[in-house]
Structures are given as structure tokens and as C-alpha cells.
């Protein structure tokens, strides 16, 4: 039976590890130690559990999408409704956990990166709740395409710093957050938002999201009295995916399907499908599949979804991929948009663009999966993406001009 736990230096097989400048090594050791103590401290766990239940809104429903399933005529599709959580996405699970940890370590200044803005909003939210100072780094391109979330963060009292280097997206926001962290290490906790970065982040972020899969597993057994045939999740850094996958890893009959951003097609610079065009390399502290050129420079990526637009995949996914325990596919920008439209029209649920990638893969497979059970992690809701949906679906925005 395959279990997936890292070694003491954070290696999942060959992946993961701790590849950062020396200045950050001792702080990472400090976080690791604090986290190891917290995870076995009943008081910490009880406070986290209470916040997840009463503040964030856990457990989230596992919803049988009947109209969607019937329209496809195949698999019974269940949606894990992380989109119903406070702040609109799964990100709050990890933010609450790390905020408690920061308080435990005596850090009162929090920095974070954000792509789509969901992690930034969740971070700004917990900082308001805990009374922490909050600085969120966000690529200027992402600020442009996720304007609503930028304002939400500011409304919550966070400072949003635009990053104008590189591709002006998530990758550059992480670099800038790391530069802030090395400068302000004694006062500051870096609340990294995905299962990325140097050890112990991939492990810790996964553990805080594991509740998604634990609930989903229990709920599907209650509703169907069996385990699902397939579990789908979108993979940017991979936090929602590892959170729902992990409790199913030992259930070998359950297919785990990670969906990366296929963007405008799988040529260089047009996508963020690390398992289709990447090879192992190091970025932002971890060794994993990376989109890079032959000289080891990191490639620019593209996805309509800012949250999936990143050059490296979380290291545990690289391990699950190589072990053939999870399968990774890609969905294009257009397919994701169409899947969002289908879900909106059949179930009255507008998904985040990120989650729409997972929905799209489930829609593709459902017709030929008669009597199978699918669980799709609906990791976030689509309000933040309204501008992009409007742009991409002009015939809906102004139907009379398109007759």
C-alpha cells in the first residue's frame, strides 16, 4: 500500500526538499518545529477545528449534481462544495491553520502571495480576525484580471503590493514575498498559500487541507455506501488537489485525477501543464516538475485562470505522478469556460475558473462512465471571475447584438 509521507528533510521520493538561501534555513526549521508541536497539541487542534466549523463553515456539503449527471448520461457526479466556505474557496483552511501557528510563534506580521486573489483574500481575512498586519504580493497582470479580489483584500485591511517583474503573475508574487521574508524574518510569517515551497510548507499546507478529503470520503460512503471511482481536482500549486487526494491514496481502486491548465495549447509559454511540458527542477524552494527551457531558466506560463498559472507543481504531486498513483491531464482555457457555463446552466453553480478545469475533465469522462461515481472538488466559487466570464462569453453579456 502506498502512503505518501515525506522524509525528515521533506522529500517525497526525490521531490520536495529545502532549496533556499541560508538566511531562510533556520526560520524554516523554526516553523517545522512549531508545526510538529502544534499538530499533536490537542488545544491547537481544538481551536482550529472550532474555527473551521464556526467561522469557515465546515463541513462543506458533498452535493449530488443530478441535473448535470443526467444531462451527460453516465457517471453520478458529486461536487465537494469548498466554494461555499467563508471567503469563497478552500484557501481559508490553510490560512486559519497557519494563522494559529504564526500566533504560536509570536509573529504578528503576515505576508502572502496570491494569484487569483483567493489566497490573498483568505489571508487578509484571517489577519483581520487575528489582528495581524497583512501584506499581500500580487502580480500586476493578476491584479488587473482579479480586480474584485484586490479590493476585497484592501477592504479587509491588507496592503496589496503589485509586482511588476517577470510575467507579473503568481511566480513573481512568490519571489517578491520571499524577498520580503528574508528582509523581515524576525517579525514576519510567510503564509504560503499552496502545497509548494521549501519543507515544511508542502506537508503543512497539505495537512491543513486534508480535511477536504476526509470529509468527502466519509460523505460519499454515507451517500453511496461505496468509494468513488474517480476524484477530480484542479492543480496549480496543488493544495486543493492534495487535500482531497490524500485521504484516498491508500484506496487503490480510487482514481485520482489532477487537472492542470492547458491554456491556449501545449506549446512553450502558452500553458501551465507541468506534467505535459515540464521536467524536474527547483523553483521557490522545492524540487518538482517545472516548466523550464533547456538552459534551466523558468518559462513564462499562461492560463485564463490566475490560480493555475504557475511554472512548478507541488512536490507531492510529482511523487504521486511518478508512482502512477495519480494521473495528470490538462484542460484548455476554452474547455474550462465551457464547463463553467454548463455547470452554471444545469446546477445553478458558477465555479471559479480554476475549479472549472476539474469540472471540465469530469464532464469529458462522465458520458462513458456509466454507473461510476465521480467526486469533483469544487475548490472555489466564480464571483471573482465575473469579468473574465463576461469577456469570454460576449454572446451572454449582450445577446441582442449577437443575433
Amino acid at each position: 500500500m502506498l502512503t505518501s509521507q515525506p522524509d525528515s528533510l521533506g522529500h517525497f521520493g526525490p521531490y520536495g526538499g529545502r532549496f533556499v538561501p541560508e538566511v531562510l534555513m533556520a526560520p524554516l526549521e523554526e516553523i517545522e518545529q512549531a508545526y510538529n508541536e502544534a499538530r499533536t497539541d490537542p488545544a491547537f487542534q481544538a481551536e482550529l477545528h472550532s474555527l473551521l466549523a464556526d467561522y469557515a463553515g465546515r463541513p462543506t456539503p458533498l452535493y449530488h449534481a443530478r441535473r448535470l449527471s443526467e444531462s451527460l448520461g453516465g457517471a453520478r457526479i458529486y461536487l465537494k462544495r469548498e466554494d461555499l466556505l467563508h471567503t469563497g474557496a478552500h484557501k481559508i483552511n490553510n490560512c486559519l491553520g497557519q494563522a494559529l501557528l504564526a500566533r504560536r510563534m509570536g509573529k504578528r506580521r503576515i505576508i502572502a502571495e496570491t494569484g487569483a486573489g483567493q489566497h490573498g483574500v483568505a489571508t487578509a481575512t484571517v489577519c483581520a480576525l487575528f489582528g495581524f498586519d497583512c501584506v499581500v504580493y500580487m502580480g500586476e497582470e493578476d491584479m488587473r484580471r482579479q480586480r474584485l479580489n484586490v479590493f476585497r483584500m484592501r477592504l479587509l485591511g491588507a496592503k496589496v503590493v503589485g509586482v511588476s517583474t517577470g510575467s507579473r503573475t503568481l511566480k513573481d508574487a512568490i519571489s517578491e514575498a520571499m524577498r520580503d521574508w528574508v528582509t523581515n524574518i524576525s517579525t514576519t510569517h510567510y503564509l504560503l498559500g499552496s502545497a509548494l515551497g521549501a519543507h515544511p510548507y508542502p506537508l503543512m499546507v497539505r495537512d491543513f487541507h486534508r480535511v477536504i478529503g476526509e470529509e468527502a470520503r466519509r460523505q460519499i460512503l454515507e451517500k453511496e455506501n461505496l468509494l468513488p471511482d474517480s476524484v477530480f481536482a484542479c492543480v496549480g500549486g496543488g493544495s486543493n488537489a492534495i487535500g482531497i487526494f490524500h485521504p484516498f491514496i491508500a484506496d487503490e481502486q480510487v482514481k485520482l485525477i489532477g487537472v492542470e491548465a492547458g491554456g491556449r495549447g501545449l506549446s512553450e509559454g502558452e500553458h501551465a501543464a507541468r506534467f505535459s511540458g515540464g521536467s524536474p527542477g527547483v523553483l521557490h524552494g522545492a524540487y518538482s516538475y517545472l516548466l523550464q527551457n533547456r538552459d534551466g531558466q523558468v518559462l513564462l506560463t499562461h492560463s485564463v485562470s490566475a490560480g493555475l498559472d504557475y511554472a512548478l507543481v507541488g512536490p507531492e504531486h510529482a511523487w504521486l505522478h511518478d508512482q502512477h498513483r495519480a494521473e495528470y491531464v490538462s484542460i484548455s482555457d476554452g474547455e474550462a469556460i465551457q464547463a463553467a457555463l454548463t455547470l452554471a446552466r444545469t446546477e445553478g453553480i458558477i465555479p471559479a475558473l480554476e475549479s472549472a478545469h476539474a469540472v471540465a475533465e469530469a464532464l469529458r469522462r462522465a458520458p462513458s462512465a456509466k454507473d461510476q461515481v465521480f467526486v469533483v472538488n469544487l475548490s472555489g466559487r466564480g464571483d471573482k471571475d465575473t469579468d473574465i466570464y463576461r469577456e469570454r462569453l460576449p454572446e451572454i453579456d449582450e445577446p441582442e447584438t449577437h443575433r
Binding site: 532549496f19 534555513m25 528574508v182 523553483l283 534551466g296 523558468v298
Partner: protein
């Protein structure tokens, strides 16, 4: 076999009672063809060990000045292979010790052993990998030492006693002490962390100690130089290149002048 230029260099400094002056330059900034002459200018100005920086797309440890230098170098088509060619050209004209200064990923892509072999053949004397911790450094160190190259590691003000000892153990040639937390770049004042860090490292190793990060004035060179065996300046040189490019001046002349001005701060004789 490698002539151990780094060890001879520090031996010479010791004999002569001098403080070393280490200069960083991003190879390929503003173009690969120019780097050998820019290095020669730095050496004329008083720099006596060169850190040859390999530009990387995501330089998380660097401030804005070196970030822009790396971007210019990459835009000019600089690759790790070209940096090695640059090193060979420098070596044709000079015996100045050369330390390859790089992020890990381009090295992984090139191959650890291939790089060590090629670096030694192109006249490089040692390597420093900014984002490679001693914990992950086993295969790298083996490859470098097999080809006679020194491995320089960083120690920082945040390093715990255990980590300082590991850094001392894994380093050869010299140890690079980071004077302050933060990214590379010029600062107004010198960090008060330097002296205790130097002392803590002296207790652990007899290797020479170089101190860098944030040093940009002759006065800072003097203060640091009184504590360490060598002083490292980086961003101030990169800024000289940038300013020369912006004003249409000759970057070589600017680097030589900057080096000469900073070298004036070096303590004349020690102990």
C-alpha cells in the same frame, strides 16, 4: 589539475597583511562579449577575486539592481554554457580567482558532474550556489571536489550554531558570511550582526572569511575589512554598469572607477 587559486590568493593576502576585495558581476550584462573586458576593468580598479554571476529568471535572493542586471543578461542570450566561455576568455588574460555564483536550477539542468568538469576546464576555481542548502549539497559537493573546485557556502545572521558548524564543514576555499538578513543591495549603514557572526565562524573554522551583502561605500569597506579576510561588493558594481548604460558612458571605465573608489577604503595593514 586545478592550481587552487583561491587558497593561494588568501595565503598571499595573509602574508602581505592585506584584506581581499571580492567583486560580483552578472556575466552577460549587458552582453556576453563585454564581460571579459568589464572583469579586467574591475581587476585594474583593485578587485582581486571575481564572483561571476549566472543570470537566473527568478532570483529570489537578489534586490532590484541585480535583478535588472540578470534580466539584461538573459535578454542578451546569456546561458550557463556562455558564462563558462566567458570564464575561459577571462582566464586567457588573467590569473584572478573566479568563483561561479549561481542559483541551483541552471546547474541541475546542465548536470552536476558535467558542470564541475566544464567549469574546471574553463578556468573556474569554485562555486557558490545561492539556494543550495548544505542539507541538499552532498552530490554537488562530491562532483565539485572531484574536479578540484572549491565549494563556498553562505552563513547568515539567522544561522543557528548547528548550521554555522555545517557551513564550516561543507565550505572549502573560504566561507561567505552574509552581513544582514535581506536581499542583495546597497545599504546606508553596516549591520551590527557582522562582528558576532565573524567571531562565531572563526571558532569553527580556520578557512578565510569573506563578508558581503549591502556593502557599497569606502567606509563600509573599511569597517567590514577590519573584521574579515575579504570584503564582497556586488550591487554597487551592477549599479555602475546600469548607470553607465543609461548615460551612454563606458561601463568598463565606470567599473574601474567604482572599484578604485571602494578599494581606497580597504584597511592598509592588518595585525
Amino acid at each position: 589539475m586545478n592550481p587552487k587559486r583561491i587558497a593561494s590568493y588568501f595565503d598571499r593576502l595573509k602574508r602581505e597583511g592585506r584584506t581581499g576585495f571580492i567583486g560580483y558581476i552578472t556575466a552577460g550584462d549587458p552582453s556576453p562579449d563585454l564581460t571579459p573586458s568589464l572583469v579586467a576593468a574591475m581587476v585594474r580598479g583593485g578587485v582581486d577575486l571575481i564572483e561571476l554571476g549566472v543570470p537566473f529568471s527568478d532570483p529570489i535572493a537578489d534586490g532590484p539592481v541585480i535583478q535588472r542586471g540578470a534580466a539584461r543578461a538573459l535578454a542578451a542570450g546569456t546561458t550557463l554554457a556562455k558564462v563558462l566561455d566567458i570564464a575561459a576568455k577571462i582566464r586567457e588574460q588573467s590569473e584572478v580567482p573566479l568563483l561561479l555564483f549561481t542559483y541551483l536550477n541552471p546547474v541541475l539542468r546542465y548536470g552536476l558532474d558535467s558542470l564541475a568538469r566544464a567549469a574546471a576546464a574553463h578556468g573556474i576555481d569554485g562555486c557558490l550556489l545561492t539556494d543550495l542548502s548544505v542539507e541538499e549539497a552532498g552530490p554537488y559537493s562530491t562532483a565539485m571536489h572531484n574536479h578540484g573546485l572549491d565549494t563556498v557556502f553562505l552563513a547568515a545572521p539567522t544561522s543557528t550554531p548547528r548550521r554555522l558548524s555545517l557551513t564550516a564543514k561543507y565550505s572549502s576555499g573560504f566561507v561567505y558570511l552574509v552581513s544582514r538578513t535581506g536581499v542583495t543591495g546597497e545599504r546606508q549603514t553596516l549591520s551590527s550582526n557582522v562582528e558576532p557572526l565573524v567571531q562565531a565562524m572563526r571558532e569553527r573554522t580556520s578557512l578565510p572569511l569573506a563578508v558581503g551583502f549591502g556593502i557599497s561605500t569606502p567606509e563600509q569597506v573599511r569597517q567590514t575589512g577590519s573584521l574579515a579576510d575579504a570584503v564582497v561588493v556586488g550591487s554597487a558594481f551592477e549599479r555602475a554598469i546600469e548607470e553607465a548604460l543609461a548615460s551612454g558612458a563606458d561601463p568598463a571605465a565606470a567599473l574601474e572607477a567604482r572599484a578604485r573608489a571602494l578599494a581606497a577604503g580597504l584597511p592598509s595593514k592588518k595585525r
